[in-house]
Amino acid sequence: MRPVLFAIPVVLLLAAVSVFTGVGSLASSDDGRGWLLVVESRLPRTLALMLAGAGLAVSGTIMQMLARNRFVEPSTAGTAESAALGMLLAMLIAPNLPVAGKMAFAALTALAGTALFLQILRRVPLRSALMVPLIGLMLGGVVNAVTTFIAYRYDLMQSMGAWMSGDFSVVLRGRYELLWIGFALTLVAYATAARFTVIGMGEAIARNVGLDYDKVVTLGLAIVSMVTATVVATVGMIPFLGLVVPNIVSLILGDNLRRTLPVIAISGAGLVLACDIIGRIVIAPYEVPVGTVMGVIGSLVFLHLLLSRRSHAG
């Protein structure tokens, strides 16, 4: 339990910094404008960051257990790309649907895309662990190409950009609340954490201890797809997050998810907060989108993990 106790104050501190970072001054206001700024913009943004961070980190963990591969997360398995395709199709077919409806549709396409990914993994002989994310990236590339083609045709490239790269500068009260659905699903994942650990032990061991393998895989896919869809629909995808956080936590604490999932969720929230704060400071008063900051930090950590893992294995 100690790691959680250590992580909580750090994240709370980051959250406080996040609320007080920005161009508008909170202090100088007369008629309560500072308060308005906090309630309408700053607090929603901080909450959105934490919810998205926690949800994506937990989703990454579950996907790694389902695919039995350490390099899989929503942005390396076609999940995020499929969700974006769903958003685009929903926009074209039913433009008047509220965002929640479009998100539900995106969750379905994300589910289909991720299920397809797992089906491909079952059929392709995997000679190396790196084949798995490679297949996922290729699948994501194909889906993305289809989406881009359609978006280009219907002049929706801008929306597509918003879904695929996380940017929290647009978050206002009333425009991020769907992320709470993702948070509720994160709690479901925690309640069923032991099952996902068993899944991570492989199909044979899972069936041996009497787990209904297909049912748990379906539950995992549903959670991952819904969380990804809420993030894509509200703030846009944050790459690498679901990769970096679970891997680091696993290296230190292992993978008994009943114990580690809270740490993963809190660390995910903290990392996104930190990246967003950096993005808001480096070129203030302008902003670097959190997805870009996360991409830089994430790919560096990922590279480090790859290299250190090799020396560890050797």
Binding site: T197, D212, L251
Partner: protein, 252 residues
């Protein structure tokens, strides 16, 4: 008692397991031997419902394995395979604890903790119980998996080639351990083995398979005879009696 009735499993028109009928009584250690591709591991996977069969039926104490609820069967029969590639990074104790999953569904009781302690102690894993599996040697890891199935505490325990990749010391230790599971705990142990001499020395019964079919079955003294071994493995050999054990020399 495990009753295997007319079980068939085919891949692309080739029967890997071909109309096998076999009854394994309760208690004792049964070895399944046979050349590569004889269908030994496939049969074991079907019996333990890891793999569906095309036709036929398997009953474990009257329980139909293709219909029984997963956790009901998991309290009666366990299987350990040899390719235990685990993505989840677990400590030895966590792994062994998951042997209690059919009973506790991940929320361990005091009784579960006792089972876990006992299994860890029985396999001499106390010094390593808080280490991660990827920090152990092959032999230690093997013992951790055996501790897990021991912790599952089922009447029937199936092992698919448990001696693979083990040096002679660990292979002998593992076989003695499986023998003790049958003798001390009255478990019914079924093992797929490649080494005929291990099968001869430690089994109560030997089942030989060939080309997906059941070739012969019987006690070691009936099975370990040159004519049968020649028929099963297509290798010339001589059999020597050393004490009570019949050993096969197939080197010249």
């Amino acid at each position: 008692m495990i009753e295997i009735q007319e079980v068939t499993k085919s891949y692309g028109g080739t029967a890997v397991v071909d109309r096998v009928s076999l009854t394994l009584p309760s208690g004792g250690l049964t070895s399944i031997i046979g050349p590569n591709g004889a269908g030994k591991s496939t049969l074991l996977s079907i019996v333990s419902r890891l793999m569906p069969m095309d036709t036929g039926k398997v009953l474990v104490d009257g329980l139909d394995v293709s219909r029984a609820a997963g956790d009901v069967l998991a309290r009666r029969l366990s299987i350990m395979r040899q390719d235990n590639h685990i993505t989840a990074r677990l400590s030895v104790r966590d792994l062994v604890a998951f042997g209690r999953y059919p009973y506790s569904k991940g929320r361990l009781t005091a009784a579960d903790a006792e089972h876990i302690d006992r299994s860890i102690a029985y396999l001499g894993l106390e010094p390593y119980q808080n280490r991660f599996l990827d920090e152990l040697s092959g032999g230690q890891r093997q013992r951790a998996f055996i501790a897990m199935v021991l912790c599952q505490d089922t009447d029937y325990m199936l092992f698919d080639e448990p001696l693979n990749n083990l040096d002679i010391k660990h292979a002998v230790e593992t076989m003695k351990l499986l023998r003790r599971l049958a003798d001390d705990f009255a478990k019914t142990v079924v093992v797929v083995l490649h080494d005929i001499n291990f099968a001869s020395a430690y089994s109560d019964r030997i089942v030989a398979m060939q080309g997906g079919r059941l070739a012969f079955e019987g006690p070691p003294q009936d099975m370990i005879v040159p004519s049968r071994l020649q028929a099963i493995f297509d290798v010339d050999c001589r059999v020597h009696a050393v004490g009570d054990t019949r050993l096969v020399n197939y080197f010249d």
